[in-house]
Amino acid sequence: MIKSIEEYLELLKTELQGSDAATVQDALSDAEEHLRAALATLKQDQPDVKEEAALSQIIDQYGSPSETASAYAEVERRTVPQLARENPKPQSVWGHFFGVYTDARAWGSVLYMLIAFVTGVFYFSWAVTGLATSISFALFIFGLPFALLFFLSVRGLALLEGRLVEGLLGVRMPRRPLFTQQNLKWFDRLKELTMDRHTWFSILYMFIQFILGTIYFTLFTTSLSLSLSFIAIPFIQELFGQGYIMNNDLRYYAPTWSYPLFVLGGISLWTIFMNLARGIGQLHGRMAKAMLVTD
């Protein structure tokens, strides 16, 4: 006999062991939302009903923890994130190397590397400002509520980053906010958030994202500009009569026979970068999952 919603959620969590962490988080917040809404309605209709009896009636309709867990597992098996669908494996090494252009995940990673620069700068400023002001405001009465707001914003940003990671990198991330006990006083909520490993990992992620974002952005712009320059050399020399290296009045011209080599070099460089980006994207996704999703 399940006595409280918290107990149901604990049991559901146990039942879901081994499933994707993001699925678990979704299932828990769905169950919490439903059970609380149902309980509130039932209490309104029958004020003198015992909570335990009400709950057992509600759970009977909602499904036992094991029934609910199997429903999620079933649907999860059928739906895989858009980008996680396996591309048909090309046979040769070359096919694999150039096949990167048809791989949605590689393009997603390239886009993510670009966006990571912007989000990284934002996360970093947010985390530094939030932490610094929370600590210094701790001297005043309003310091603690301020810290609570900051921690809550970190949770929100972690969820947002998760959506970005799932959309672009194809790594399954939570779609619902982490469930928390509702009836807590704000001070207890703050204590809970401060003690939670997840909060600090998310803040750490915000710092790391700044460094990684900068590296990704540099890699992206360097690769893109070098590749384009190589490809452009024949056109610059033939159409505009300029040398490929210009040092004051000295111009160096590449011989005509080398044109295909430059173009090929440029294309290969970009292809290498695309392959690199695909790998980086997968690694980054794994890191984000480890740091932003609670187990």
Binding site: E33, A40, G63, E67, P177
Partner: protein
């Protein structure tokens, strides 16, 4: 010995797998306003009467997968009592898909009816 209740349960579950999507899309198409999970479950309870076809908890993963496929959209709104609620609404793609699915269902239904009656 044939374990009829277990087999029936399994049969019901397999039937539900596809029908739940059609039912949820239809409900959200009819109401024309966003609804949250518990509201949808209550409405379905009214439709099904005493017979309960599926557990309410099984509706949520289907809602997620419909949203994932772009047929539904959702947003979270705070509620006066309890945790914030996720409201689901049908998208225009969802409406188009629903028309197709209703067609499929109609054909399916007449096919099954004929098979059962042996017309």
């Amino acid at each position: 010995m044939v374990d009829t209740p277990t087999l029936t349960k399994k049969f019901q579950k397999e039937l539900n797998a596809g029908i739940a999507s059609l039912v949820l899309l239809s409900v959200l198409d009819k109401t024309r306003k966003p609804m949250y999970g518990y509201q949808i479950a209550k409405l379905l309870e009214e439709y099904s009467g005493d017979a309960s076809f599926m557990k309410q908890g099984a509706l949520y993963p289907v809602l997620h997968s419909l949203e994932n496929g772009g047929l539904l959209e959702s947003n979270v709104e705070p509620s006066v009592s309890g945790p914030p609620r996720r409201y689901y609404a049908i998208t225009s793609e969802g409406r188009e898909t629903l028309v197709v699915w209703q067609g499929v269902w109609k054909q399916m239904k007449s096919f099954v009816d004929k098979a059962i009656k042996g017309a």
